[in-house]
């Protein structure tokens, strides 16, 4: 009987071997997939197992963590001034995952990041509870408050950047939402989430980073930069050869001007009174590819990572001449995020040097050691110092004598440059236009702030009144004022 016995023994060995192989399959080969499977609650359990680190603005946390004693998710996220900071923090919900900084820096905030390995090990020996690290942002609470208050009940967004460094100072989007309202996983949280999802005003949309709008006249500064950079204009006060009416290339439609006095207007004058014809003609002279080249140097046609991802702004590289002429005044296929326009303004204010925009200053371990310090980083040079200063002169002219008067700070030693915009949109431009305003403030020590403001639509405001100068400029002014006051 020993021969079959041995065979059965081999068979039993094969059974055990099959189990060993299967185990390697699920615990080694498929481990990562199973571990990070969307149905695997462990990721979320782990995220809330310990006191979560905070997101910090001006040395004060704008988030919190409460011990809920829940057997599944122990700590729950709380937010101070949630709606105001939501475009910065994003949310961290026990039921609906997380986004933006809460998601990108999850490793630091939970304390699971590899860079915190030493702290974890140390805590294990000292018997301390594991804790998450903090994320210190570049934002300024004064600027953010001014931006959020300024937008009020209107729909819109504000982005403020420190041009010298690229630090994002304000990032507001309205209507906003309170991430605390769905931080847990109860039916109440679910109700709040569903209500936000179904809200047709899209409060969860981060308009400052993720929405692209036709820029309208504020795009003219990009066209001006392209014209100067490509040598189509050398003297900003020299008359341009622009007929009135100017016909859009490849078409018989005349370009409509809202201002009078655009015929042969100089670049400086054309920007001050916002002549469509002059800039459309200049854009046509520069040409589509050169326009796109300058636009791309400013950051168009690419997503920006702040590190929260922004949508890519668009300058079409395949349109015809007519399209290019229209695009040069910020209509047709041109579309931009508020962040992008703030970057354009910042590059001009910083004498032609575009700094990479960022909103995380540093990552700090629970013991306050700095894990990572972000340094300002040059992104590109869309225009020369001279040309940048020429555009500054023109933009300051807009504020002093033109459409941007409402942004003037009237403070000694501070120069303000700006540009208004009113962008048509919708079928036959029937919808209420977008009101834009971009501006910067400048002192002897350079420029501390550049702002882009968009107000989508304001109920109760007649169509004529929706102009960048009227609606958006005061918000930009308030933000600039807050930043300057904070500095002094």
């Amino acid at each position: 009987m020993n021969k079959p016995l041995r065979r059965v023994a081999i068979f039993c060995g094969l059974l055990v071997l099959a189990l060993l192989i299967r185990d390697n399959w699920i615990q080694y080969v498929r481990a990562d997939e199973l571990n990070s499977h969307p149905r695997n609650k462990r990721v979320t359990i782990e995220r809330y197992a310990n006191e979560r680190g905070n997101i910090i603005v001006d040395g004060k946390p704008i988030t919190g963590s409460v011990d809920s004693q829940d057997p599944y998710y122990r700590f729950k996220r709380t937010y101070t001034d949630g709606p105001m900071w939501a475009p910065v923090t994003g949310y961290a919900s026990q039921a609906y995952d997380a986004n933006q900084i809460e998601k990108i820096e999850d490793g630091i905030l939970t304390g699971n990041d590899d860079r915190l390995f030493f702290d974890r090990t140390l805590a294990m020996f000292t018997g301390d509870k594991k804790k998450g690290g903090n994320v210190v942002t570049t934002l300024s609470s004064a600027a953010q408050k001014a931006a959020f208050k300024g937008l009020g009940s209107k729909t819109g967004a504000v982005v403020a950047i420190e041009p010298r460094t690229g630090k994002i100072l304000a990032l507001a989007s309205t209507p906003s939402y309170d991430p605390s309202s769905f931080a847990g996983y109860s039916s109440k949280d679910e109700k709040a989430w569903v209500a936000l999802e179904e809200d047709k005003n899209k409060p969860k949309q981060n308009r400052a980073l993720r929405e692209i709008y036709p820029p309208g006249s504020v795009f003219k500064v990009v066209t001006a930069a392209a014209a100067l950079e490509h040598g189509k204009v050398t003297d900003i006060d020299a008359a341009t050869d622009t007929p009135e009416p100017y016909k859009i290339p490849l078409s018989t439609v005349p370009m409509k001007n809202h201002a009078s006095g655009c015929q042969n207007a100089s670049l400086n004058e054309a920007l001050r009174i916002s002549c469509n014809s002059v800039f459309a003609k200049l854009g046509d002279q520069v040409g589509r590819d050169a326009m796109a080249e300058t636009a791309e140097k400013f950051g168009f046609n690419a997503e920006q990572f702040t590190p929260v991802r922004s949508a890519a702004s668009v300058y079409d590289k395949k349109m015809d001449r007519g399209g290019n002429a229209l695009s040069s005044i910020g209509q047709f296929n041109t579309a931009t995020t508020p962040l992008q326009m703030a970057m354009v303004t910042a590059a001009i204010a910083n004498d032609g040097k575009l700094m990479k925009p960022y909103m995380i200053d540093k990552l700090v371990a629970p013991n306050l050691d700095v894990i990572k310090q972000n340094e300002p980083e040059e992104m590109s040079r869309p225009l020369s110092q001279r040309n940048a200063q020429l555009i500054q002169t023109m933009m300051e002219n807009v504020v002093e004598n033109g459409t941007g008067g409402k942004a003037d700070l009237n403070t000694d030693g501070v120069k303000v440059g700006g540009k208004t915009g009113t962008a048509q949109h919708g079928e036959k431009n029937a919808k209420r236009p977008y009101a834009w305003f971009i501006s910067y403030a400048k002192t002897d020590q350079g420029s501390p702030v550049a702002v882009a403001v968009i107000v989508e639509d304001s109920a109760g405001t007649s169509r004529e009144d929706i102009s960048g100068g009227g609606l958006a400029a005061p918000i930009a002014k308030a933000v600039m004022k807050a930043v300057l006051k904070n500095r002094s």
Binding site: R6, A9, L19, L20, R22, D23, I26
Partner: protein, 480 residues
């Protein structure tokens, strides 16, 4: 005189009994779980658990008693079996105690039954009864061949045990499978005991009939087919296991019994044809039943692709439940990775239902990782290997068949349970021997180890010295 000593010297060399090896291994088998216990306590509360001394002493005492009994009553027994079983039993206790402290499982029990009762103390009691059973087997069963006398009584006993859960009022239907009976306040799984009794019946029966089954056969397509009248027993067993499958909804037990029978039939007759026929009949039966029983169907769906099936299965259905369970188990394993999260630090309690019984292996997977699972599989593998070795060493065919049957059944059970929870084969409701919570399983498996130890003692015992022949004294050497 010198002529006589020549024949007895072989037997006179004392075969090593290896009892001290067993004792040393037992010390490890007790110390390792005690450290694991400490580990769980430190991980969960950050302090040395108060029950550690009691647990260590209890396990040590049980192991000590078992060792002394083996030393006294089965001195030549295999030295590995007892330490292996002790280690597994001890680790099982630790894992059950660990899951007892899961706030999620406590909350779940309170929600479902209104109260939570810890399982570890019960399991400790079952382990004590199990060791008592082991001691009892060694004390009462002085020679395993005695069992041969009870061949047909065993058959009747096995059938009764298997059919008990179907008796109205006695059997309970818990979560689809009818494999339990309730006596007094206790739930008993008669199938676990039927495994032992059936092995005795098969061994006794096959020992008598093996020649008829092996030799009286016709050759057909290269296979030896047995005569019709010899086919009776295999058909009966097949039918009974199918009945278990259909009426008790228990794929695992059915597979286990049929598989054990085919293995023993093969060993007894040395005819490969039995294996072929066994496989065909098992597959046929399984396919036949799975087309009718929805219970089996949902298990198969959960096995093929649990994540996919979860998307398609209607919400709240049995199938969705089975699939969800399987995804939880798989994610538990996957989350363990290579080294595991460490005892007490995993989330295998997300499996919720039967986390400490049917799915206890997932806790091993998550908290001890791939490494831990492989260690456990190899420990089980070693028990099987020692069992097969005992079968090889046994001198009598009955002992050979019984040892092989028991270790074969053990191997199949490991495969069916571990393969089921790891998604290698469809899940069946059976328990991991020694590890899982459940009195019947622990007690029956300790009895199984007891029988194997008894057979191995007989097998390894030196042959008795032949009594000096009185004639030898008489014979005079005639010198020329």
């Amino acid at each position: 005189m010198s002529v006589v000593t020549n024949t007895t010297t072989i037997g006179a060399i004392e075969a090593p009994s290896r009892r001290n090896t067993e004792l040393a291994l037992l010390a490890f088998a007790v110390v390792i779980p005690v450290f694991a216990y400490l580990n769980v306590g430190l991980a969960l509360d950050g302090e040395v658990p108060s029950g550690m001394l009691g647990y260590g002493l209890g396990l040590g005492l049980l192991a000590g008693v078992a060792h002394l009994v083996v030393r006294r009553f089965a001195p030549y027994a295999d030295p590995l079996l007892l330490p292996l079983a002790t280690l597994l039993n001890g680790m099982g206790l630790v894992l059950i105690w660990r899951l007892d402290q899961s706030p999620r499982l406590i909350a779940l029990a309170k929600r479902q039954y209104g109260a939570f009762s810890a399982s570890a103390p019960n399991q400790m009691m079952y382990s004590a009864i199990g060791i008592a059973m082991f001691v009892g087997v060694l004390l009462i069963l002085k020679d395993h061949r005695v069992l041969q006398r009870y061949t047909y009584i065993s058959m009747v006993a096995a059938l009764i045990l298997l059919l008990l859960p179907l008796v109205p009022g006695l059997g309970t239907d818990s979560f689809g499978a009818k494999i339990w009976i309730r006596v007094g306040g206790f739930s008993i799984q008669p199938g676990e005991f039927a495994k032992l009794v059936l092995a005795v019946f098969f061994s006794g029966y096959l020992m008598v009939k093996r020649d008829a089954l092996a030799l009286a056969s016709r050759r057909f397509m290269g296979l030896y087919l047995p005569r019709g009248r010899d086919l009776g027993p295999i058909l009966t067993i097949w039918a009974v296991s199918l009945l278990i499958l259909v009426f008790e909804n228990d794929l695992g037990t059915s597979l286990l019994f049929f598989g054990m029978f085919v293995i023993m039939l093969y060993v007894a007759t040395e005819r490969t044809s039995w294996i072929v026929m066994g496989l065909l009949m098992a597959t046929g039966g399984a396919v036949f039943v799975s087309t009718f029983a929805s219970h089996v169907q949902s298990r198969v769906a959960a096995w093929l692709d649990p994540f996919e099936c979860l998307k398609t299965a209607p919400e709240g259905s049995n199938m969705a439940y089975a699939c969800d369970q399987m995804t939880q188990v798989l994610m538990s394993f996957g989350s363990g990775g290579i080294l595991g999260t460490g005892l007490g630090q995993g989330n295998s309690d997300l499996i919720q239902f039967a986390a400490n019984s049917d799915f206890i292996f997932a806790t091993v997977g998550e908290e001890l990782g791939l490494t831990g699972v492989m260690v456990f599989l190899l420990l089980y593998g070693l028990i099987i290997e020692r069992g097969v070795r005992t079968a090889l060493a046994a001198r009598d065919p009955f002992g050979k068949l019984l040892a092989m049957g028991l270790s074969g059944a053990f191997a199949l059970q490991i495969f069916v349970v571990a393969g089921g929870v790891m998604g290698l084969i469809p899940l069946t409701g059976m328990t991991m021997p020694f590890l899982a919570y459940g009195g019947s399983s622990v007690i029956a498996n300790w009895a199984l180890i007891g029988i194997l130890i008894r057979i191995s003692d007989t097998a390894r015992r030196p042959a008795p010295a032949p009594a000096p022949s009185p004639d030898a004294e008489m014979t005079q050497v005639v010198r020329p």
